[in-house]
């Protein structure tokens, strides 16, 4: 346990990423409001982004933009940032689509609560 904590101190961004991931997953699974689920998804994705970027970061490294006047000795790894740009676009797209679905569901059921929607659907099917 102590060794685990020590290692987690070194790898603290990963540690926080896991915590964020867990909170996000809990939000998705336990909150019944559709907005909350959506926010939870976003938190989860940003936790993953954090892990990626932390993986590519170097202490004391430079921003990965060439400066020909005074070249830096150490640049950070640019690959994770490039990948996560794509990841952010994906999460924006998912959010937009989910919001559209929320609007649609609100038009049909008049609520944005997943539990109440399920109840109403059951009533509709029975009736």
């Amino acid at each position: 346990m102590r060794i685990l904590l020590e290692k987690l101190m070194i790898n603290y961004p990963y540690f926080v990423a896991v915590i964020l991931f867990t909170i996000g997953a809990l939000t998705v699974l336990t909150r019944s409001n559709l907005f909350k689920k959506l926010i939870g998804i976003n938190i989860m994705e940003s936790a993953i982004f954090l892990m990626f970027i932390a993986g590519g970061n170097i202490r004391g490294g430079a921003v990965p933009i060439l400066d020909e006047a005074n070249p830096k000795p150490l640049y950070i790894n640019p690959v994770p940032s490039a990948l996560m740009l794509t990841g952010i676009v994906v999460s924006v797209s998912v959010t937009a689509f989910a919001l559209a679905l929320i609007v649609r569901l609100y038009q049909s059921y008049g609520t944005t609560d997943a539990r109440r929607i399920a109840e109403m659907r059951n009533e509709v099917t029975e009736g």
Binding site: F21, A25, V28, L34, K37, L38, I41, M44, E45, I48, M51, F52, G55, V79, P80, L83, T86, G87, V90, S93, V94, F97, A98, L101, I102, R104, L105, S108, Y109, I117, R121
Partner: protein
């Protein structure tokens, strides 16, 4: 010109449907043109996939490598059309053509006006391109992006049906699928952080060198991948979104979702497990046992759930859950016969399940009845549709001379080679349960009094599509030659990688 096209075919089969998809929204008003364009591009895709498959077959195991942008493997993204890629490309093209043909002029009831139908087609083509991309890509992050395109277009296809329940199903699907893709991305992140490579081949080499240093990370990456793709492909305890989504979607969408989209994620899982981790690492971490166990549970549970359903499309949707179990089980039998069986079963289930869903869609469109108990005597009124449904059912149960049998045969051989007697028993029990939930439909359709209503078979393009799929089921069962050849080659290639 021809040489250029041939040389660039691996990328053309992916981007051709996408290009058509981009221009399609601008002439939404001309429905005929849109429909013909979609069918034409699917046909061209089939020709291209067939050509690639024939090249791969002729080259005997040497894959076609295509470096995008001219950057070779560790730096750029690489497409690889090996036996596996060609096999899945062929499956995608062969199933999506009849489904597109079936959709012709049949969507207005379920989807809406011309513009909505056009957008439906655009989403359909995007899904198609993403699946083709999954078949040929050899890059981990590219898989994630393709999976996202596929997920979003799948959800779009589900929500295209103008019905509140469709929106609800799409929302659940979207949330859970995004959760799954977050997990997949996390798995990719673990792999990237410890190997430094995104190309599957290089990542695999690096992993083989360093995995002893990071045993937990490797295990965690594998389980992230398994759970992530498992959510997307409705592996049993994670299947909760599938029945709603697949039963409320418009019929061609259900066919393509159950038939192909789920298979696309499974192919991705297969690539990650067998190419990146490799079979030695899988066995080292006992992943194959977990896969077999999950597959067995999925087969039994999915079939039992399917038995309990009275709604036709829901029963078919739960049957997909059970059939995914077979494929997962086959992935766990780390031997040549088991993998061949899994791949062949994947193809045969793609064809069968899309034919079943299309037939169900035709029945529902003609009669307006969703429940199995209300379909008495439909076989007399809609002979072609019901005949196709019967062929599909026989294939799914695994009767000899239909495609499911050969897949199951190889799965059985593989499971006995791997020493899983219980798995073999579960495969058989699954078939019996499958008969138990599919044959009542046929019995009700043929052997119960014929109703008064004037129900009819669908129009000509729909009929052709259904018959094409049924012929596919029979051909795969009687003369699976090149398909089986490709599948077994792919299995060999996957097993000798490390």
């Amino acid at each position: 010109m021809t040489a250029t096209i041939t040389a660039n075919l691996p990328v053309f089969v992916v981007i051709a449907p996408l290009f058509v998809a981009f221009v399609l929204p601008t002439f939404a008003r001309r429905m005929r043109l849109v429909e013909s364009l979609v069918v034409a591009i699917e046909a061209i895709g089939l020709v291209g996939a067939g050509y690639l498959a024939s090249i791969v077959l002729m080259q005997k195991g040497i894959p076609i490598i295509y470096s995008l942008g001219g950057w070779s493997a560790p730096w750029g993204i690489e497409l690889e059309v090996g036996s596996l890629g060609a096999f899945f490309l062929l499956v995608v093209a062969a199933v999506s053509l009849p489904v597109a043909l079936f959709a012709r002029g049949n969507l207005t009831e379920e989807v809406g006006g011309k513009e909505r139908v056009t957008r439906f087609y655009v989403l359909y083509l995007l899904l198609n391109g993403a699946l083709a991309g999954m078949a040929v890509t050899n890059d981990l992050f590219n898989i994630f992006v393709l999976v996202e395109v596929a997920t979003l277009s799948c959800c779009g296809l589900v929500s295209a049906r103008n019905h509140p329940r469709a929106a609800e199903a799409a929302f659940t699907y979207l949330i859970l699928a995004t959760l799954g893709s977050a997990l997949v991305l996390g798995g990719i992140g673990f792999l990237y952080i410890i190997t430094g490579h995104l190309n599957m081949g290089f990542a695999s080499q690096e992993l083989g060198r360093i995995w002893q240093d990071y045993p937990h990370v490797v295990w965690m990456a594998a389980s992230f991948m398994l759970v992530g793709f498992g959510v997307k492909s409705a592996l049993f305890p994670l299947h909760v979104w599938l029945p709603d989504a697949h039963s409320t979607a418009p019929s061609p969408a259900s066919a393509i979702l159950s038939g192909l989209a789920v298979k696309g994620y499974l192919i991705c899982l297969l690539k990650v497990l067998y190419i990146v981790f490799g079979h030695t690492l899988m066995q080292e971490f006992a992943m194959h046992r977990i896969l077999v166990l999950l597959g067995m549970i999925a087969i039994i549970a999915g079939s039992l759930f399917a038995l309990a359903q009275d709604e036709l499309k829901r029963r078919l949707a739960f049957s997909t859950v059970a059939q995914v179990g077979y494929i997962i089980l086959g992935l766990g039998l780390v031997n040549m016969k088991g993998l061949t069986g899994t791949l062949f079963y994947l193809a045969s289930h793609a064809v069968i399940k899309s034919s079943l869903f299309l037939a169900a869609g035709a029945i529902i469109a003609a009669t307006g009845k969703h429940r199995i108990s209300e379909l008495a005597g439909i076989g007399r009124k809609m002979p072609v549709t019901m005949a196709v449904f019967t062929v599909g059912s026989l294939g799914l149960v695994g009767i000899p001379l239909f495609s499911g049998f050969i897949g199951k045969w190889y799965l059985l051989l593989g499971s006995l080679d791997a020493g899983h007697i219980l798995a073999a028993a579960v495969i058989i029990i699954g078939s019996v349960l499958c008969a138990a939930y599919l044959f009542p439909i046929i019995r009700v359709a043929y052997f119960e009094p014929v109703p008064e209503e004037n129900w009819q078979d669908p129009g000509m393009p729909q009929k052709i599509a259904l018959i094409l799929l049924a012929v596919g089921v029979v051909i795969l069962g009687v003369a699976p030659g090149p398909f089986l050849e490709l599948a077994s080659r792919a299995a060999i290639e996957l097993l000798v990688i490390k």
